[in-house]
């Protein structure tokens, strides 16, 4: 059936089955290919997007459950303070290797920092252990999250 969803501040209408995962609506119908397919079962986190600011796995999120919620994808995460700080830290520390999982990593990390401004190692483990990186960039992901959190805190103080 027809659905209109809000993605990165724009409205998009699609005509798909109710159970169609949001991932394919984003990638194949709207053309936002920054969000990646990795497993289709919420096991790897490559498809992570934000639904009203909370990280969700779009590969198991049926379109019918989205409603009026605001979807944000990696293409627009730089518009949030946390997302901007995460992208900068990711660049400064050269986190990506192949880069395929990094959209999902960045979305999980941005949600973590937005929710927990000063995450410790346990916070990072719990927020990020659902995101697989086959290239093994985990050490840099951890360091970059800490750096981004510090950066975001400084920005917030500086007003």
């Amino acid at each position: 059936m027809a659905y209109t969803i809000r993605v990165n501040g724009a409205r998009h209408s699609v005509d798909v089955d109710d159970d169609t995962p949001l991932l394919w609506v984003l990638r194949d119908l709207i053309g936002l290919t920054g969000t990646k397919f990795g497993c289709g079962m919420a096991l790897c986190g490559a498809c992570t997007v934000h639904l009203d600011g909370a990280p969700i796995r779009s590969c198991v999120t049926p379109i019918e459950s989205v409603g009026e919620s605001e979807i944000r994808t990696v293409e627009a995460i730089g518009e949030t303070p946390a997302g901007r700080a995460v992208q900068k830290a990711w660049t400064d520390l050269e986190v990506p290797q192949c880069g395929y999982c990094q959209s999902g990593q960045i979305m999980s990390a941005a949600a973590l920092i937005a929710e927990t401004p000063d995450p410790d190692d346990d916070d990072i483990d719990s927020a990020m252990s659902g995101n697989i990186c086959r290239c093994g960039t985990y050490l840099r992901i951890r360091a970059a999250i800490k750096r981004a959190a510090a950066e975001a805190a400084t920005q917030a103080k500086g007003g």
């Binding site: 798909v16 395929y100 086959r134």
Partner: protein, 727 residues
């Protein structure tokens, strides 16, 4: 090496192939420069090579931008940046001035000089292009300088190049490369160029920012799976779950009833559902009840595979490395020791599932994907399309992980077969389950070892038989000679250790037809480093020796290997007692032109659960191009190898792969990742490969650490934690 007879490197791997430097004017103005290399068995002359000028490596445009068509593919290893650094260093431009492009399929222009055709693999890229690309950069600089000198009417020797411009200090003049590009194109190609003295490097050896990072943090990086074409459909596919089986029958109805599904395509061995989006294609495929003719492998299981390897181990081996008289030395030894080591099939599980987009239009075929072997992909597409290769265009992309999986073109063949039945472009995307279950696996290996020790415990005899399938025989048959596979014994043959009596041999044992094996990160060394380093640790223990000291004593005349061993031991605090329940283990390897030692520290909980606490790695990879990338590759390689050591195993039951997704084929996650320290030896030696050694050295360091902690010797991967709780 105490009389050890080294195996000859296969001739196809010799870095001696002559290259032709060609130059010309770009269509839009500017300088083009290319390197042409005769393909395997072929010959090219300069005139022939010049015809390829439009695809040249280096283009200096009128805007001063340097375009670089990169012969190697970027799959995370940072090669786009490292190779650009080589050119920028000699061309005297800032790295940011280099704009990289994916290379089209063309062996004449983009062959890997070490391997003879267009391929990215085996940690060869820097070794292969270290000199040719610096020479190309220096040639372009020489021509730009000559152009400026000509414009000014002065001796080129009076000019110098700096930051994208030629400068005449005496005249106080400066011309930017962009202004010189067209005149430079008319200069003769220099016959010989002088390369910079390494002490004058300003870019090589510095932690340069990766060129591909910005796009990878904004979601704008385009992988093969991200391709979009006008009118494109998405297909997903199910091949017969039993290897070698065929399609018997399928009723298309249930798939066609799904909204968005357009078509069901039947191949002889697979069914594809074509739809408007992947969600519909998957739902359609899941709705089908497919009848398969399972064929000859329907009863095959991993147990059969292991039994076949065990039986083959009793056969006749082909010698891969021999020194002295190992049989006599075993007979005369004070004591002997034997062991069997086993390693499983492994899937690659790159995060970007296998995919390939194809559009057939009349007598043309366009293919979009990420591949490590562009010309092989073109040949596969051409054969499947029934077209000559020159009618096929390969559009290569960033690879969402390669690890050897994208050295294969099975998915290209399949996608073209599907596309032949579809009107318009179609993107074929495999589900993760299809990706795991229809991979070509790292071979399952069975290794049998014997050693003889003298009274003092030194290994006077070392015999190692490798049994497994041959990737070389299938993938590069020209290099498979007299039953010998150089890759299968790589890391066992030609060891850094001075064994006075050594015999390494190989017995080929293939799985049933339809079940192919292929390269996997670390290739032969991943397997043999585990076996040799584990077994050597056993010998050290029998000798009552410290594992580091025992190895060290065997490294006379191997200063680089000994250097990394000493460095890793020092940095890890080797010899300082560890806490109760913990253990340290060491591994050493020489491979890919590099040397690496790792010390792993592990802890065991009361229930036998194993945790890797810390890894200290020392690496000597010769001259370092980008030190930050070296660290990244070692960190990532270790994590990749840890996944395999702890979890990696593909098993078969009734001819089917049991594992299917990341729940059953586990990956290491952030909360399981140890601290990793990488110590890089400063060296003036030629660059060695570094994409793979990290992966190779971690499993033996971990099992040796487990032994130190528990006294339990693990000879089979992946590590079975039930064995540890039983201890």
């Amino acid at each position: 090496m105490r009389g050890v007879q080294r195996i000859e490197r296969p001739s196809g791997l010799a870095p001696s192939r002559r290259r032709f430097l060609v130059a010309g004017a770009a269509a839009g103005g500017g300088l083009l420069l290319g390197l042409s290399l005769p393909g395997l068995g072929g010959r090219a002359d300069a005139a022939e090579a010049a015809a390829f000028a439009p695809d040249a490596f280096i283009r200096v445009g009128r805007d001063g931008r340097v375009g670089f068509v990169v012969p190697q593919v970027e799959m995370g290893q940072g090669i786009y940046t490292a190779l650009s650094m080589l050119i920028a260093e000699e061309l005297e431009v800032p790295l940011a001035a280099v704009a990289v492009e994916h290379a089209p399929a063309n062996d004449a222009l983009y062959a890997n000089p070490l391997l003879g055709f267009q391929v990215t693999g085996g940690s060869t890229s820097l070794r292969a292009f270290w000199e040719p690309l610096r020479r190309a950069g220096a040639a372009a600089r020489t021509m730009l300088v000559a152009a400026a000198a000509e414009a000014w009417g002065i001796d080129p020797a009076a000019c110098r190049a700096e930051a994208g411009a030629v400068i005449d200090d005496s005249g106080g003049r400066r011309l930017a490369y962009g202004e010189l590009a067209e005149r430079a194109a008319r200069q003769p190609v220099p016959g010989a160029v002088r390369l910079k003295d390494p002490k004058d490097f300003t870019l090589i050896g510095t932690p340069a920012k990766r060129l591909d990072t910005p796009a990878k943090v904004t979601g704008s990086a385009v992988f093969g799976i991200d391709v979009r074409r006008p009118g494109m459909k998405i297909a997903t596919v199910a091949a017969c779950p039993v290897f070698g089986g065929m399609l018997k029958a399928v009723d298309e109805g249930p798939a066609l009833a799904v909204r968005g599904v357009r078509q069901v395509v039947k191949l002889s061995d697979a069914v594809a559902v074509v739809a408007d989006h992947m969600g519909a294609a998957k739902k359609g495929l899941e709705a089908l009840r497919i009848a398969w003719d399972e064929g000859a492998n329907a009863g095959f299981s991993t147990a059969d595979l292991v039994r076949d390897l065990e039986v083959a181990a009793g056969g006749t081996g082909v010698s891969g490395d021999q020194a002295g008289d190992v049989e006599a030395a075993l007979k005369g030894a004070a004591r002997t020791h034997e062991a069997v080591y086993r390693m499983p099939f492994l899937a690659h599980a790159a995060m970007e599932p296998i995919n390939c987009t194809v559009e057939l239009r009349g007598d043309r075929c366009d293919v979009w994907l990420g591949t490590q072997v562009a010309t092989r992909a073109r040949a596969a597409a051409a054969e499947a399309a029934g077209l000559p290769p020159e009618r096929v265009t390969i559009h290569n992309h960033l690879l969402g992980g390669g690890f050897g999986r994208r050295l294969e073109v099975d998915s290209v063949t399949q996608a073209v077969r599907i596309a032949r039945q579809v009107v318009g472009p179609v993107k074929v995307v495999w589900t993760r389950e299809e990706d795991i279950r229809h991979d070509l696996y790292r071979p399952c290996y069975y290794d049998r070892l014997s050693a003889g020790l003298d009274e003092a415990g030194a290994p006077v005899a070392f015999r190692h038989r490798v049994v497994g399938s041959s990737i070389v025989a299938r993938w590069i048959p020209a290099l498979f000679k007299d039953g010998f596979d150089f890759d299968a014994v790589d890391g066992a043959a030609g060891p850094p250790y001075g064994f006075p009596n050594l015999l390494v041999d190989y017995v080929r044992q293939e799985p049933p037809a339809g079940l192919a094996t292929t390269w996997w990160r670390g290739v032969g060394v991943t397997h043999n480093a585990f076996v040799v380093e584990g077994f050597l640790d056993e010998l050290a223990h029998l000798a009552g020796a410290d594992p580091v000291a025992y190895r060290r004593a065997l490294l006379d005349g191997q200063p680089r290997a000994r250097g990394v061993l000493d460095l890793a031991a020092e940095k890890a605090g080797w010899g300082v007692a560890v806490a109760a329940g913990r253990g340290r283990g060491v591994s050493l390897l020489s491979g890919f032109g590099s040397h690496m030692a790792q010390v792993a520290e592990v802890s065991l909980a009361g229930d036998g659960s194993l945790r890797i606490e810390r890894v200290v790695c020392a690496v000597d990879c010769g001259r370092v191009v980008n030190p930050d990338t070296v660290r990244a590759q070692v960190e990532g390689g270790i994590i990749f190898g840890l996944t395999a050591a702890l979890y990696g195993e593909i098993t078969l039951e009734r001819g089917r792969v049991v594992q299917g997704n990341f729940d059953s084929y586990r990956m290491l996650r952030i909360d399981e990742t140890p601290a990793i320290e990488v110590h890089v030896v400063q060296s003036d030696e030629a660059p060695g490969g570094l994409g793979e050694p990290g992966t190779c050295g971690i499993a033996p360091a971990v099992v040796n650490a487990v032994f130190a902690a528990t006294g339990k010797r693990l000879r089979k991967l992946p590590i079975d934690s039930s064995e540890l709780s039983a201890s």
